[in-house]
Symmetry: C2
């Protein structure tokens, strides 16, 4: 089944102990689509400015990623993010954010996108996420991401999003901030009370937790020996997870668990090089080989 | 098969956000023995002072823990440790350490202990650990713990210990410090080069890794909703692991993995209350029930 992602296509400038890249093509929708398209056709919704070179879309060549929903805003400039990773590289220090076209982004889904069964709302202002939910009445499963900015400053709108989606994926700090619970197990269970039937908490190099009613699952991360650039790991994880669910066509506990493992594998490719380089180079076969290796580590 | 532990029996004074206890019976050999004796008979070697009330040994009543090796040092005072946990409670701040009888501890194993097949060297000065290895010529499997103090100041003696044991268990910071590798996967593999055939790295609430030649295993922690006092969690983990191996009587990859899961379960009981209270209260049946529940979380 097909899968819709609404998120960002961005220019990322990134410093890590391994080097520096400037204006790499990044953004949540980019990483998500690259990971998810290994499993299912992806429909992408995002906005860029006229400064976004069309040939950058070659990034998506050879994959089933529909970019009809990529809005090129007249006179607009593309979203830019600049960040730096140091020490254990678990957290990015944001050096600069230029919202540009995102400041007024109001997604209009192409007619052909509206009946997409699987929907992923990448981190965005809850107002934008609600507009997407309004335009996908036939969806079967929606998962949302979010960030501390909205948890703190747009809480009511975010709570409405959480009541309307089926699942939420957050990192550990976001889960703590959303629920006021320091303990992650309590935080996950409390997040379930806000509406979603499924709560996924990402812990970076420490893996991820899955919460659902009467059910808990813990998964370590894939053992990566060299993290070059963690940017996009979370969106790659979500892409692998949602991509696998869309391919399976059915959300079950078993599929959610396998999807988390595929998400973990996608993220493990992403962090191995700057930007999308390593994820892009990973073939479907590479993903399957690493998935099987990962399953062996856990048995 | 039986299991020998050489470690400490101590008075612990502990502050956590959940309260304060003074002069609780603690120490590595205490936690290890309580956890391991659920699986196999334990022979304990440690030293206390004449200030240690005999009736405190009631702690071990009803368990197969042989305390013939508990040396009551004439005119000596028992080792005391005082620490404080704050925030995420992953790391203890040591407020005070009084070595007392440990300063001159030189273990003399009772004759009946010398042929014990499974040996655990709890954290101690490497000199002491080497004395135990000299006195256990018939052992089949020895695992050692250590700490940053010895890694930094007694490196040569510690490296000799590592060459002579079969396995080492360390926390993440110790593994990094021992090997100079920040990445834990690299650190684990590098530790294997120092001699042990098995390297276990504990990551507290994030679980544990197991490294052996050609083999890697990752295990999350048991999802504890309230950590009251983490003191002794690491020694309880080692106790569950080594206790299970001693019961199985054979060290295999499968037994090491199951042992790590039992260690995780033992630690999950320990952290639920101050000192040994919760671990002591856990019956063999409680442990099996939680082990099965934990296995379900991972499947």
């Amino acid at each position: 089944m097909s899968l819709l992602v609404v998120g960002t296509v961005a220019f990322d400038s990134i410093q890590t102990p391994h080097g520096l890249v400037e204006e790499e093509t990044g953004g949540s929708a980019t990483f998500f689509s690259l990971a998810a398209s290994a499993f299912a056709p992806v429909r992408l919704v995002a906005a860029v400015g006229t400064d976004f070179p069309r040939d950058r879309l070659a990034l998506f060549d050879g994959r089933t990623i529909d970019t009809e929903g990529l809005d090129v805003v007249a006179d607009g400039k593309t979203f830019r993010w600049s960040g730096k990773y140091e020490g254990d590289m678990n957290v990015a220090e944001t050096l600069d954010t230029q919202l540009n076209v995102l400041a007024t982004f109001s997604p209009k889904l192409p007619e052909s996108y509206r009946s997409t069964p699987f929907v992923f709302l990448a981190n965005a202002e809850p107002r934008v996420q609600l507009e997407v939910l309004d335009q996908t009445p036939d969806r079967r499963f929606a998962m949302t991401d979010t960030m501390n900015l909205w948890i703190e400053h747009e809480r009511d709108a975010l709570l409405e999003v959480l009541r309307r989606v089926d699942a939420v994926v957050m990192n550990d700090e976001e889960a703590r901030s959303l629920t006021g619970e320091r303990n992650l197990i309590r935080a996950g269970n409390k997040a379930l009370e806000l509406g979603p039937k499924v709560v996924v908490i990402k812990k970076g190099e420490h893996g991820a937790f899955l919460f659902s009613t009467y059910m808990f699952h813990a998964l370590p991360a894939y053992p990566v020996t060299e993290v070059v650039d963690p940017t996009g790991a979370g969106d790659s994880f979500a892409g692998g997870l949602m991509g696998y669910l869309a391919r399976a066509g059915r959300v079950s506990i078993g599929n959610l668990k396998r999807g988390m493992a595929y998400g973990t594998v996608a993220a493990s490719f992403t962090v191995a090089d700057f930007g999308t380089r390593s994820l892009r180079a990973a073939t479907r076969e590479d993903i399957e080989i690493r998935f099987n290796e990962f399953m062996n580590f856990l048995r």
